[in-house]
Symmetry: C2
Subunit: 291 residues, 2 copies
Protein backbone atom coordinates (compact mmCIF):
# COMPACT_ATOMS: atom_id res chain seq x y z
CA UNK A 1 0.00 0.00 0.00
CA UNK A 2 1.45 3.30 -1.09
CA UNK A 3 0.68 6.05 1.38
CA UNK A 4 0.25 9.70 0.44
CA UNK A 5 1.66 12.11 3.04
CA UNK A 6 1.17 15.83 2.65
CA UNK A 7 1.91 17.09 6.13
CA UNK A 8 5.54 17.47 7.23
CA UNK A 9 4.65 16.66 10.86
CA UNK A 10 3.00 13.42 9.75
CA UNK A 11 6.13 12.56 7.76
CA UNK A 12 8.30 13.29 10.82
CA UNK A 13 6.25 10.86 12.93
CA UNK A 14 6.54 8.17 10.27
CA UNK A 15 10.31 8.71 9.94
CA UNK A 16 10.75 8.60 13.72
CA UNK A 17 8.98 5.24 13.78
CA UNK A 18 11.21 3.88 11.00
CA UNK A 19 14.38 5.19 12.65
CA UNK A 20 13.42 3.73 16.03
CA UNK A 21 13.03 0.32 14.41
CA UNK A 22 16.28 0.58 12.42
CA UNK A 23 14.38 0.33 9.12
CA UNK A 24 16.50 1.67 6.28
CA UNK A 25 15.15 4.48 4.12
CA UNK A 26 15.72 5.20 0.44
CA UNK A 27 14.67 8.60 -0.88
CA UNK A 28 13.82 9.70 -4.41
CA UNK A 29 13.22 13.47 -4.57
CA UNK A 30 11.30 14.55 -7.65
CA UNK A 31 9.30 17.46 -9.02
CA UNK A 32 6.64 15.01 -10.24
CA UNK A 33 5.75 14.53 -13.92
CA UNK A 34 7.29 11.12 -13.33
CA UNK A 35 8.78 9.18 -16.21
CA UNK A 36 10.83 6.05 -16.68
CA UNK A 37 13.94 7.85 -15.35
CA UNK A 38 12.27 8.45 -11.99
CA UNK A 39 11.01 4.88 -11.96
CA UNK A 40 14.56 3.61 -12.42
CA UNK A 41 15.59 5.60 -9.31
CA UNK A 42 12.75 4.00 -7.33
CA UNK A 43 13.74 0.51 -8.46
CA UNK A 44 17.32 1.09 -7.41
CA UNK A 45 16.06 2.30 -4.03
CA UNK A 46 13.81 -0.75 -3.54
CA UNK A 47 16.84 -3.00 -4.00
CA UNK A 48 18.97 -1.15 -1.46
CA UNK A 49 16.51 -0.11 1.29
CA UNK A 50 13.67 -1.43 3.43
CA UNK A 51 11.41 1.51 2.61
CA UNK A 52 11.32 3.99 -0.28
CA UNK A 53 9.95 7.50 -0.02
CA UNK A 54 9.30 9.50 -3.19
CA UNK A 55 8.81 13.24 -2.81
CA UNK A 56 6.76 15.15 -5.35
CA UNK A 57 7.36 18.86 -4.92
CA UNK A 58 7.74 21.55 -7.55
CA UNK A 59 10.23 23.78 -5.74
CA UNK A 60 9.59 27.47 -6.50
CA UNK A 61 13.05 28.40 -5.10
CA UNK A 62 14.83 26.80 -8.06
CA UNK A 63 12.87 28.62 -10.76
CA UNK A 64 13.95 32.08 -11.83
CA UNK A 65 11.64 34.89 -12.91
CA UNK A 66 10.30 34.18 -16.40
CA UNK A 67 11.03 30.45 -16.11
CA UNK A 68 8.39 27.72 -16.37
CA UNK A 69 7.35 27.38 -12.70
CA UNK A 70 3.70 28.06 -13.54
CA UNK A 71 3.46 25.83 -16.57
CA UNK A 72 5.75 23.06 -15.25
CA UNK A 73 3.77 19.82 -15.81
CA UNK A 74 1.80 18.81 -12.68
CA UNK A 75 -0.45 15.76 -12.40
CA UNK A 76 -0.54 14.48 -8.84
CA UNK A 77 -3.00 11.71 -9.57
CA UNK A 78 -0.89 10.31 -12.40
CA UNK A 79 2.28 10.60 -10.30
CA UNK A 80 0.68 8.83 -7.36
CA UNK A 81 -0.54 6.06 -9.66
CA UNK A 82 3.00 5.64 -11.02
CA UNK A 83 4.44 5.40 -7.48
CA UNK A 84 1.74 2.91 -6.51
CA UNK A 85 2.50 0.81 -9.58
CA UNK A 86 6.14 0.72 -8.50
CA UNK A 87 5.07 -0.08 -4.91
CA UNK A 88 6.78 2.93 -3.33
CA UNK A 89 6.00 3.05 0.39
CA UNK A 90 5.33 6.76 0.73
CA UNK A 91 4.66 9.64 -1.64
CA UNK A 92 5.53 12.84 0.19
CA UNK A 93 3.81 15.80 -1.49
CA UNK A 94 4.01 18.77 0.86
CA UNK A 95 2.26 22.06 0.12
CA UNK A 96 4.46 25.05 -0.74
CA UNK A 97 3.11 26.79 2.38
CA UNK A 98 4.84 24.17 4.55
CA UNK A 99 8.10 23.85 2.63
CA UNK A 100 8.52 27.53 1.88
CA UNK A 101 6.57 29.48 4.52
CA UNK A 102 6.72 33.27 4.65
CA UNK A 103 9.60 34.31 6.88
CA UNK A 104 11.85 31.57 5.58
CA UNK A 105 15.26 33.21 5.10
CA UNK A 106 17.82 30.41 5.16
CA UNK A 107 19.62 29.32 2.01
CA UNK A 108 22.34 26.80 1.27
CA UNK A 109 24.88 28.01 -1.25
CA UNK A 110 27.41 25.80 -2.96
CA UNK A 111 29.99 28.11 -4.49
CA UNK A 112 32.27 27.09 -7.35
CA UNK A 113 30.53 24.07 -8.83
CA UNK A 114 27.25 26.07 -8.97
CA UNK A 115 28.68 29.06 -10.78
CA UNK A 116 28.87 28.08 -14.42
CA UNK A 117 26.68 26.24 -16.95
CA UNK A 118 23.15 25.94 -15.50
CA UNK A 119 24.19 28.23 -12.64
CA UNK A 120 25.19 30.97 -15.10
CA UNK A 121 22.09 30.60 -17.28
CA UNK A 122 19.78 30.31 -14.25
CA UNK A 123 21.11 32.55 -11.44
CA UNK A 124 20.02 31.30 -8.03
CA UNK A 125 18.86 27.96 -9.43
CA UNK A 126 21.34 25.80 -7.54
CA UNK A 127 20.87 27.73 -4.31
CA UNK A 128 17.18 26.86 -4.65
CA UNK A 129 18.03 23.22 -5.36
CA UNK A 130 20.57 22.90 -2.53
CA UNK A 131 18.26 24.60 -0.02
CA UNK A 132 15.29 22.39 -0.78
CA UNK A 133 17.31 19.18 -1.05
CA UNK A 134 18.93 19.90 2.34
CA UNK A 135 15.48 20.51 3.82
CA UNK A 136 14.04 17.32 2.31
CA UNK A 137 17.04 15.28 3.50
CA UNK A 138 16.52 16.65 7.02
CA UNK A 139 12.83 15.72 6.89
CA UNK A 140 13.21 12.26 5.36
CA UNK A 141 16.53 11.35 7.02
CA UNK A 142 17.25 8.69 4.40
CA UNK A 143 20.15 6.26 4.36
CA UNK A 144 20.42 6.75 0.60
CA UNK A 145 19.12 9.41 -1.78
CA UNK A 146 18.81 8.83 -5.53
CA UNK A 147 19.33 11.38 -8.28
CA UNK A 148 19.57 11.05 -12.05
CA UNK A 149 22.80 11.70 -13.90
CA UNK A 150 20.81 13.64 -16.51
CA UNK A 151 21.12 16.76 -14.34
CA UNK A 152 24.85 16.27 -14.06
CA UNK A 153 25.79 19.60 -12.51
CA UNK A 154 22.98 19.20 -9.97
CA UNK A 155 24.43 15.85 -8.93
CA UNK A 156 27.83 17.50 -8.42
CA UNK A 157 26.28 20.34 -6.38
CA UNK A 158 24.36 17.91 -4.17
CA UNK A 159 27.33 15.62 -3.59
CA UNK A 160 29.49 18.63 -2.69
CA UNK A 161 26.85 19.95 -0.29
CA UNK A 162 26.39 16.57 1.38
CA UNK A 163 30.13 16.21 1.84
CA UNK A 164 30.73 19.80 3.03
CA UNK A 165 27.84 19.82 5.52
CA UNK A 166 28.45 16.19 6.57
CA UNK A 167 24.82 15.29 5.86
CA UNK A 168 24.49 11.63 6.90
CA UNK A 169 23.27 10.18 3.60
CA UNK A 170 24.74 8.25 0.69
CA UNK A 171 24.07 10.10 -2.55
CA UNK A 172 23.52 7.64 -5.40
CA UNK A 173 23.68 8.95 -8.96
CA UNK A 174 21.82 6.72 -11.43
CA UNK A 175 22.34 6.39 -15.20
CA UNK A 176 20.38 8.47 -17.68
CA UNK A 177 17.31 6.71 -19.03
CA UNK A 178 16.61 7.40 -22.70
CA UNK A 179 13.67 7.02 -25.02
CA UNK A 180 14.22 4.51 -27.86
CA UNK A 181 15.18 7.41 -30.14
CA UNK A 182 18.05 8.30 -27.80
CA UNK A 183 16.65 11.47 -26.17
CA UNK A 184 17.30 11.61 -22.43
CA UNK A 185 14.02 11.42 -20.54
CA UNK A 186 12.93 14.68 -18.98
CA UNK A 187 9.64 16.01 -17.68
CA UNK A 188 10.16 18.98 -19.98
CA UNK A 189 10.17 16.78 -23.12
CA UNK A 190 6.36 17.15 -23.16
CA UNK A 191 6.95 20.72 -24.34
CA UNK A 192 8.45 19.44 -27.63
CA UNK A 193 6.43 19.26 -30.86
CA UNK A 194 7.25 16.31 -33.19
CA UNK A 195 9.35 18.72 -35.29
CA UNK A 196 11.17 19.96 -32.17
CA UNK A 197 11.89 16.40 -31.22
CA UNK A 198 13.63 15.65 -34.50
CA UNK A 199 15.85 18.66 -33.91
CA UNK A 200 16.42 17.59 -30.30
CA UNK A 201 17.92 14.25 -31.32
CA UNK A 202 21.05 16.03 -32.51
CA UNK A 203 21.95 16.49 -28.81
CA UNK A 204 22.43 12.82 -27.84
CA UNK A 205 23.89 12.14 -31.28
CA UNK A 206 26.52 14.86 -30.81
CA UNK A 207 27.54 13.44 -27.42
CA UNK A 208 27.82 9.91 -28.81
CA UNK A 209 29.91 11.17 -31.68
CA UNK A 210 32.29 12.99 -29.34
CA UNK A 211 32.49 9.92 -27.11
CA UNK A 212 33.43 7.79 -30.11
CA UNK A 213 36.27 10.18 -30.89
CA UNK A 214 37.51 9.91 -27.29
CA UNK A 215 37.36 6.12 -27.51
CA UNK A 216 39.42 6.32 -30.70
CA UNK A 217 42.07 8.34 -28.89
CA UNK A 218 41.04 11.98 -29.22
CA UNK A 219 42.15 13.86 -26.09
CA UNK A 220 41.99 17.47 -27.30
CA UNK A 221 38.96 19.08 -25.66
CA UNK A 222 38.78 22.03 -28.03
CA UNK A 223 38.39 19.64 -30.94
CA UNK A 224 35.71 17.76 -29.02
CA UNK A 225 33.86 21.00 -28.28
CA UNK A 226 33.94 22.00 -31.96
CA UNK A 227 32.82 18.56 -32.99
CA UNK A 228 29.79 18.68 -30.64
CA UNK A 229 28.81 22.15 -31.79
CA UNK A 230 29.12 21.16 -35.46
CA UNK A 231 26.95 18.09 -34.86
CA UNK A 232 24.24 20.30 -33.34
CA UNK A 233 24.11 22.94 -36.06
CA UNK A 234 20.50 23.56 -37.17
CA UNK A 235 18.76 25.52 -39.89
CA UNK A 236 16.13 26.69 -37.44
CA UNK A 237 16.88 30.08 -35.89
CA UNK A 238 15.29 29.05 -32.59
CA UNK A 239 17.50 26.00 -32.18
CA UNK A 240 20.90 26.62 -30.64
CA UNK A 241 23.62 25.31 -28.39
CA UNK A 242 23.60 26.94 -24.95
CA UNK A 243 26.87 25.23 -24.12
CA UNK A 244 28.84 22.15 -25.14
CA UNK A 245 31.86 21.52 -22.97
CA UNK A 246 34.24 18.93 -21.56
CA UNK A 247 34.57 19.27 -17.79
CA UNK A 248 36.11 17.63 -14.75
CA UNK A 249 33.55 15.24 -13.23
CA UNK A 250 33.87 16.60 -9.67
CA UNK A 251 34.91 20.25 -10.00
CA UNK A 252 33.04 21.15 -13.22
CA UNK A 253 36.22 22.92 -14.41
CA UNK A 254 36.65 22.90 -18.23
CA UNK A 255 39.40 20.53 -19.31
CA UNK A 256 42.13 21.07 -21.88
CA UNK A 257 42.77 17.41 -22.45
CA UNK A 258 40.96 14.17 -21.65
CA UNK A 259 43.40 12.30 -19.42
CA UNK A 260 41.06 10.42 -17.11
CA UNK A 261 37.31 10.63 -16.66
CA UNK A 262 35.67 13.67 -18.17
CA UNK A 263 32.11 14.77 -18.72
CA UNK A 264 30.76 15.81 -22.10
CA UNK A 265 28.17 18.34 -21.02
CA UNK A 266 25.72 20.07 -23.32
CA UNK A 267 22.51 22.05 -23.33
CA UNK A 268 20.56 22.38 -26.54
CA UNK A 269 17.76 24.91 -26.83
CA UNK A 270 14.90 23.88 -29.11
CA UNK A 271 12.30 26.63 -29.27
CA UNK A 272 11.70 27.59 -25.66
CA UNK A 273 12.76 24.23 -24.29
CA UNK A 274 16.23 23.67 -22.88
CA UNK A 275 17.40 20.07 -23.14
CA UNK A 276 20.21 18.80 -20.91
CA UNK A 277 22.37 15.81 -21.67
CA UNK A 278 25.83 14.49 -20.78
CA UNK A 279 28.12 11.51 -21.02
CA UNK A 280 30.96 10.51 -18.73
CA UNK A 281 33.83 9.46 -20.97
CA UNK A 282 37.41 8.32 -20.61
CA UNK A 283 40.32 7.34 -22.87
CA UNK A 284 40.42 3.65 -23.79
CA UNK A 285 41.73 1.49 -20.95
CA UNK A 286 40.67 3.80 -18.10
CA UNK A 287 39.28 2.04 -15.00
CA UNK A 288 35.50 2.22 -14.53
CA UNK A 289 33.96 5.44 -13.24
CA UNK A 290 32.50 4.99 -9.78
CA UNK A 291 30.80 8.37 -9.39
Amino acid sequence: MTRLVRDTMELRRYIRMLRKNAISIGFVPTMGALHEGHRSLMRRSFKENDRTIVSVYVNPLQFGPGEDFERYPRDMEKDFTACRAEKADVVFAPPVAQMNPPGRTTTVQVAGVSDDYEGAVRPGHFTGVATIVATLLNLVQPDRAYFGQKDYQQSVVIRRMVRDLAIPVDVVICPIIRDPDGLAMSSRNVYLTPEDRKEALRLPAALIRAEQHVLRGETNCDRLRKLMRAAMRSKRADVRVDYADVVHPETMVPLGSVEGHAVLLAVYRVGKTRLLDNRVVAPPGTAAWVG
Copy 2:
Protein backbone atom coordinates in the same frame (compact mmCIF):
# COMPACT_ATOMS: atom_id res chain seq x y z
CA MET B 1 34.66 7.74 31.40
CA THR B 2 34.82 10.75 29.15
CA ARG B 3 36.05 9.86 25.70
CA LEU B 4 38.04 12.20 23.46
CA VAL B 5 37.16 11.85 19.77
CA ARG B 6 39.11 13.79 17.18
CA ASP B 7 38.21 11.92 14.01
CA THR B 8 34.85 12.63 12.33
CA MET B 9 34.62 9.05 11.04
CA GLU B 10 35.10 7.72 14.57
CA LEU B 11 32.35 10.06 15.76
CA ARG B 12 30.04 8.84 12.96
CA ARG B 13 30.54 5.23 14.06
CA TYR B 14 29.78 6.11 17.67
CA ILE B 15 26.65 8.07 16.68
CA ARG B 16 25.46 5.23 14.47
CA MET B 17 25.73 2.87 17.44
CA LEU B 18 23.78 5.26 19.69
CA ARG B 19 21.08 5.82 17.05
CA LYS B 20 20.72 2.08 16.42
CA ASN B 21 20.09 1.55 20.13
CA ALA B 22 17.65 4.49 20.44
CA ILE B 23 19.95 6.22 22.93
CA SER B 24 19.12 9.93 23.10
CA ILE B 25 21.87 12.47 22.42
CA GLY B 26 22.37 15.94 23.89
CA PHE B 27 24.89 18.21 22.19
CA VAL B 28 26.79 21.20 23.56
CA PRO B 29 28.79 22.91 20.79
CA THR B 30 31.59 25.13 22.12
CA MET B 31 34.76 26.86 21.04
CA GLY B 32 36.47 25.61 24.22
CA ALA B 33 37.83 27.93 26.93
CA LEU B 34 35.01 26.39 28.95
CA HIS B 35 33.51 28.31 31.84
CA GLU B 36 30.55 27.95 34.17
CA GLY B 37 28.18 28.95 31.35
CA HIS B 38 29.24 25.96 29.26
CA ARG B 39 29.00 23.74 32.31
CA SER B 40 25.40 24.83 32.85
CA LEU B 41 24.61 23.74 29.27
CA MET B 42 26.16 20.32 29.94
CA ARG B 43 24.15 19.90 33.16
CA ARG B 44 20.94 20.72 31.35
CA SER B 45 21.84 18.17 28.69
CA PHE B 46 22.62 15.46 31.28
CA LYS B 47 19.12 15.89 32.70
CA GLU B 48 17.40 15.60 29.33
CA ASN B 49 19.45 13.00 27.41
CA ASP B 50 21.07 9.59 27.78
CA ARG B 51 24.41 10.80 26.40
CA THR B 52 26.02 14.22 26.16
CA ILE B 53 28.54 15.20 23.50
CA VAL B 54 30.54 18.41 23.91
CA SER B 55 32.34 19.73 20.84
CA VAL B 56 35.43 21.88 21.23
CA TYR B 57 36.23 23.56 17.95
CA VAL B 58 37.44 27.08 17.29
CA ASN B 59 35.70 27.67 13.98
CA PRO B 60 37.83 29.82 11.65
CA LEU B 61 34.79 30.51 9.41
CA GLN B 62 33.17 32.73 12.04
CA PHE B 63 36.18 34.99 12.57
CA GLY B 64 36.74 37.92 10.25
CA PRO B 65 40.12 39.26 9.15
CA GLY B 66 41.74 41.16 12.02
CA GLU B 67 39.62 39.39 14.63
CA ASP B 68 41.00 37.29 17.48
CA PHE B 69 41.06 33.84 15.82
CA GLU B 70 44.78 33.44 16.50
CA ARG B 71 44.75 34.65 20.09
CA TYR B 72 41.36 33.12 21.01
CA PRO B 73 42.02 31.23 24.29
CA ARG B 74 42.77 27.54 23.65
CA ASP B 75 43.59 24.97 26.33
CA MET B 76 42.45 21.51 25.27
CA GLU B 77 43.77 19.81 28.39
CA LYS B 78 41.90 22.15 30.71
CA ASP B 79 38.72 21.85 28.61
CA PHE B 80 38.90 18.07 28.61
CA THR B 81 39.40 18.09 32.39
CA ALA B 82 36.31 20.29 32.78
CA CYS B 83 34.21 17.94 30.62
CA ARG B 84 35.49 14.94 32.56
CA ALA B 85 34.63 16.63 35.85
CA GLU B 86 31.10 17.12 34.56
CA LYS B 87 31.02 13.52 33.29
CA ALA B 88 30.32 14.39 29.65
CA ASP B 89 30.31 11.22 27.56
CA VAL B 90 32.28 12.49 24.59
CA VAL B 91 34.46 15.49 23.85
CA PHE B 92 34.54 15.93 20.08
CA ALA B 93 37.55 18.02 19.09
CA PRO B 94 38.04 17.68 15.33
CA PRO B 95 41.02 19.19 13.53
CA VAL B 96 40.37 22.16 11.24
CA ALA B 97 41.62 20.03 8.32
CA GLN B 98 38.61 17.72 8.77
CA MET B 99 35.92 20.32 9.47
CA ASN B 100 37.11 22.85 6.92
CA PRO B 101 39.08 20.97 4.27
CA PRO B 102 40.38 22.75 1.18
CA GLY B 103 37.71 22.60 -1.53
CA ARG B 104 34.89 23.16 0.93
CA THR B 105 32.56 25.64 -0.77
CA THR B 106 29.16 25.21 0.87
CA THR B 107 27.76 27.86 3.19
CA VAL B 108 24.50 28.25 5.06
CA GLN B 109 23.18 31.80 5.05
CA VAL B 110 20.40 33.04 7.29
CA ALA B 111 19.27 36.35 5.84
CA GLY B 112 17.42 38.99 7.83
CA VAL B 113 18.12 38.02 11.44
CA SER B 114 21.86 37.85 10.61
CA ASP B 115 22.11 41.25 9.01
CA ASP B 116 22.30 43.75 11.87
CA TYR B 117 24.08 43.99 15.24
CA GLU B 118 26.84 41.35 15.34
CA GLY B 119 26.20 40.62 11.66
CA ALA B 120 26.86 44.25 10.75
CA VAL B 121 29.95 44.59 12.94
CA ARG B 122 31.29 41.20 11.88
CA PRO B 123 30.40 40.57 8.21
CA GLY B 124 30.20 36.86 7.42
CA HIS B 125 30.25 35.91 11.09
CA PHE B 126 26.80 34.31 11.18
CA THR B 127 27.31 32.53 7.88
CA GLY B 128 30.37 30.97 9.51
CA VAL B 129 28.36 30.10 12.62
CA ALA B 130 25.37 28.68 10.70
CA THR B 131 27.59 26.65 8.37
CA ILE B 132 29.58 25.04 11.14
CA VAL B 133 26.59 24.47 13.43
CA ALA B 134 24.70 22.78 10.56
CA THR B 135 27.76 20.59 9.93
CA LEU B 136 28.14 19.68 13.60
CA LEU B 137 24.41 18.91 13.90
CA ASN B 138 24.69 16.59 10.88
CA LEU B 139 27.68 14.84 12.43
CA VAL B 140 26.34 14.51 15.98
CA GLN B 141 22.64 14.04 15.05
CA PRO B 142 21.53 15.08 18.53
CA ASP B 143 17.98 15.05 19.87
CA ARG B 144 18.68 18.36 21.62
CA ALA B 145 21.36 21.03 21.18
CA TYR B 146 22.18 23.57 23.88
CA PHE B 147 23.25 27.17 23.37
CA GLY B 148 23.67 30.07 25.78
CA GLN B 149 21.37 33.07 25.69
CA LYS B 150 24.44 35.31 26.09
CA ASP B 151 24.92 35.23 22.31
CA TYR B 152 21.31 36.19 21.77
CA GLN B 153 21.43 36.93 18.06
CA GLN B 154 23.30 33.67 17.47
CA SER B 155 20.49 31.79 19.20
CA VAL B 156 17.96 33.49 16.90
CA VAL B 157 20.03 32.66 13.81
CA ILE B 158 20.37 29.02 14.83
CA ARG B 159 16.70 28.59 15.67
CA ARG B 160 15.73 30.15 12.35
CA MET B 161 18.15 27.89 10.45
CA VAL B 162 16.91 24.78 12.23
CA ARG B 163 13.31 25.66 11.49
CA ASP B 164 13.90 26.68 7.84
CA LEU B 165 16.02 23.63 6.96
CA ALA B 166 13.86 21.29 9.09
CA ILE B 167 16.92 20.03 10.94
CA PRO B 168 15.60 17.32 13.28
CA VAL B 169 16.83 18.74 16.60
CA ASP B 170 15.35 20.66 19.52
CA VAL B 171 17.32 23.85 20.07
CA VAL B 172 17.45 24.68 23.78
CA ILE B 173 18.53 28.19 24.79
CA CYS B 174 19.86 28.34 28.36
CA PRO B 175 20.02 31.35 30.70
CA ILE B 176 23.09 33.56 30.91
CA ILE B 177 25.45 32.58 33.72
CA ARG B 178 27.08 35.56 35.45
CA ASP B 179 30.06 36.08 37.70
CA PRO B 180 29.18 37.30 41.23
CA ASP B 181 29.87 40.88 40.08
CA GLY B 182 27.15 40.54 37.41
CA LEU B 183 29.29 40.27 34.28
CA ALA B 184 28.01 37.63 31.84
CA MET B 185 30.51 34.79 31.55
CA SER B 186 32.44 34.73 28.31
CA SER B 187 35.65 33.11 27.17
CA ARG B 188 36.79 36.56 26.09
CA ASN B 189 36.55 37.97 29.64
CA VAL B 190 40.12 36.73 30.16
CA TYR B 191 41.22 39.61 27.92
CA LEU B 192 40.03 42.16 30.54
CA THR B 193 42.43 43.85 32.97
CA PRO B 194 41.04 44.57 36.48
CA GLU B 195 40.47 48.19 35.38
CA ASP B 196 38.69 47.01 32.22
CA ARG B 197 36.48 44.80 34.31
CA LYS B 198 35.28 47.70 36.45
CA GLU B 199 34.31 49.53 33.28
CA ALA B 200 32.67 46.39 31.90
CA LEU B 201 30.26 46.13 34.82
CA ARG B 202 28.36 49.13 33.47
CA LEU B 203 26.98 46.80 30.78
CA PRO B 204 24.94 44.43 32.99
CA ALA B 205 24.04 47.38 35.23
CA ALA B 206 22.63 49.33 32.29
CA LEU B 207 20.49 46.37 31.21
CA ILE B 208 19.17 45.85 34.75
CA ARG B 209 18.34 49.52 34.99
CA ALA B 210 16.44 49.48 31.71
CA GLU B 211 14.62 46.33 32.80
CA GLN B 212 13.55 48.02 36.01
CA HIS B 213 12.08 50.86 33.99
CA VAL B 214 10.13 48.38 31.86
CA LEU B 215 8.86 46.67 35.00
CA ARG B 216 7.71 50.06 36.28
CA GLY B 217 5.73 50.60 33.09
CA GLU B 218 8.14 52.25 30.64
CA THR B 219 7.22 51.14 27.10
CA ASN B 220 9.01 53.78 25.00
CA CYS B 221 12.02 52.11 23.40
CA ASP B 222 13.81 55.33 22.49
CA ARG B 223 13.81 56.31 26.16
CA LEU B 224 15.12 52.84 27.05
CA ARG B 225 17.90 53.15 24.48
CA LYS B 226 18.95 56.55 25.82
CA LEU B 227 18.85 55.25 29.35
CA MET B 228 21.13 52.32 28.52
CA ARG B 229 23.59 54.52 26.64
CA ALA B 230 23.66 57.03 29.49
CA ALA B 231 24.31 54.26 32.01
CA MET B 232 27.29 53.08 29.95
CA ARG B 233 28.98 56.45 29.49
CA SER B 234 32.68 56.26 30.40
CA LYS B 235 35.56 58.70 30.78
CA ARG B 236 37.87 56.31 28.99
CA ALA B 237 38.21 57.02 25.27
CA ASP B 238 38.57 53.31 24.49
CA VAL B 239 35.31 52.38 26.18
CA ARG B 240 32.19 52.75 24.10
CA VAL B 241 28.77 51.38 23.26
CA ASP B 242 28.74 49.45 19.97
CA TYR B 243 24.96 49.24 20.18
CA ALA B 244 22.22 49.31 22.78
CA ASP B 245 18.82 48.43 21.40
CA VAL B 246 15.39 46.99 22.11
CA VAL B 247 14.47 44.30 19.59
CA HIS B 248 11.84 41.70 18.79
CA PRO B 249 12.92 38.37 20.32
CA GLU B 250 12.43 36.35 17.11
CA THR B 251 12.96 38.76 14.22
CA MET B 252 15.64 41.04 15.77
CA VAL B 253 13.72 44.04 14.40
CA PRO B 254 14.09 47.21 16.56
CA LEU B 255 10.91 47.97 18.49
CA GLY B 256 9.17 51.30 18.99
CA SER B 257 7.29 50.23 22.05
CA VAL B 258 7.53 47.33 24.53
CA GLU B 259 4.15 45.60 24.21
CA GLY B 260 5.07 41.96 24.80
CA HIS B 261 8.43 40.29 25.16
CA ALA B 262 11.39 42.31 23.98
CA VAL B 263 15.15 41.92 24.17
CA LEU B 264 17.43 44.56 25.60
CA LEU B 265 20.52 43.96 23.50
CA ALA B 266 23.86 45.66 23.98
CA VAL B 267 27.51 45.39 23.11
CA TYR B 268 30.04 47.33 25.11
CA ARG B 269 33.57 47.73 23.86
CA VAL B 270 36.23 47.93 26.58
CA GLY B 271 39.65 48.42 25.06
CA LYS B 272 39.86 45.79 22.33
CA THR B 273 37.32 43.49 23.95
CA ARG B 274 33.70 43.42 22.84
CA LEU B 275 31.32 42.34 25.59
CA LEU B 276 27.84 41.04 24.73
CA ASP B 277 24.90 41.02 27.07
CA ASN B 278 21.11 40.99 26.88
CA ARG B 279 17.94 40.63 28.90
CA VAL B 280 14.55 39.41 27.75
CA VAL B 281 12.00 41.79 29.30
CA ALA B 282 8.26 42.32 29.24
CA PRO B 283 5.72 44.72 30.73
CA PRO B 284 4.39 43.72 34.15
CA GLY B 285 1.80 40.95 33.91
CA THR B 286 3.08 39.39 30.65
CA ALA B 287 3.02 35.58 30.53
CA ALA B 288 6.39 33.84 30.88
CA TRP B 289 8.75 33.79 27.90
CA VAL B 290 9.19 30.28 26.55
CA GLY B 291 11.96 30.99 24.03
